[in-house]
Subunit: 208 residues, 2 copies
């Protein structure tokens, strides 16, 4: 009853965006696709059912701004349904942002998790980044191995594709390494700053 399966990436994305500001579905989708446009695009056919489900789960509520403008009020056939997070929703979001597992570093989920890193605990951020990096490195290794095995007898297009893929992933690995470096530096600074306390518990770096 409690921790049912959510709508995957979408749930997190929706909760995350709604946390920043209440919105209606149409706008939500635009922001969604602007945010993740490079990686994926969602359609209404998945968004609205997701919103519905979040509603019935009590994670969001419809928030109709109740125009004080009486003139408009009478013919306010509802269009625009603005959604906002409930307390439960915020809690759920926090929970989703705290679990650093495959879901957060695999291809589908990484982008979304990363997009909301500013609401994520520093140690979780680090583990996600490292998780993704080692995932990509595994992939590199296995593809490189396969490439070496079939060195001969590959046509040029296949080779071209492999190489481009390889380079793309290598590039992402470098990017991740850079980010990891920054994160670690920040953590050390943090630790340094609070070195007057016991140096082993450094829990509080809430959000920016």
């Amino acid at each position: 009853m409690a921790g049912k399966k959510g709508a995957g990436v979408l749930e997190l994305a929706v909760l995350g965006l709604l946390h920043e500001s209440p919105m209606h579905g149409y706008e939500l989708r635009k922001r969604l696709n602007a945010l993740l446009g490079m990686f994926r695009a969602f359609s209404y056919g998945s968004l609205y059912p997701c919103l519905k489900q979040l509603l019935t789960s009590g994670l969001i509520v419809e928030d109709r701004p109740e125009e004080p403008n009486v003139a408009l009020a009478l013919q306010s056939r509802r269009s625009k349904i603005v959604y906002k997070l409930t307390a439960d929703g915020k809690e759920r979001l926090q929970q989703l942002l705290t679990e650093a597992g495959p879901a957060s570093w695999e291809d589908e989920g990484f982008g979304v998790h990363f997009a909301f890193f500013s609401h994520t605990r520093a140690d979780v951020r680090l583990r996600i980044l490292e998780g993704r990096r080692s995932r990509l490195e595994e992939r590199l290794e296995s593809v490189r191995a396969a490439l070496a095995r079939t060195r001969e007898r590959v046509d040029s297009y296949t080779l071209e594709l492999q190489n481009h893929g390889l380079e793309s992933v290598e590039r992402e690995v470098r990017w991740l390494s850079e980010l990891i470096g920054r994160e670690r530096a920040e953590q050390e600074q943090q630790a340094h700053r609070s070195s007057s306390l016991t140096s082993q518990d450094m829990p509080r770096e809430t959000d920016r």
Copy 2:
């Protein structure tokens, strides 16, 4: 009942690999994931049903090599089921490789189509490459627009993600442009070679 819906990308990938050489399922999957490892990975749960469907469609057949080695023959409990293309299968493959449409340049399909470019007509190759490039350019533009619109009030992680995405896509666009250039040069050479024929009707066979 001729041209029903196939198993998406998998169908093409399987037909393409089997065209190069007959194989059994397990090996097929390995080659598949070696070939496309950077982009996607298939599981047996999708591969075997796909093979089954291709069998019943008559596009592939089981090819049990019937060992002439009599000593082994008696205890040849079948493991390894080797599949190979039928004539229909080759035709179907050719058909799949000839259609240059969204399916061939959208994210899911592009890699697979590209991987078998050496079996693809030159003009189709060009149209697919151009299709993908313009698709990516659309994406770039829309994301850049969104980025410009929300210039302020973006947190640094989101910005970082957007930028990385942008650069990745820009990189792919450059790669595509390079390939397109090569393809065009090749086509011109080809045209040049046959310039002894009517020299005036060659300027633009790249319709569209």
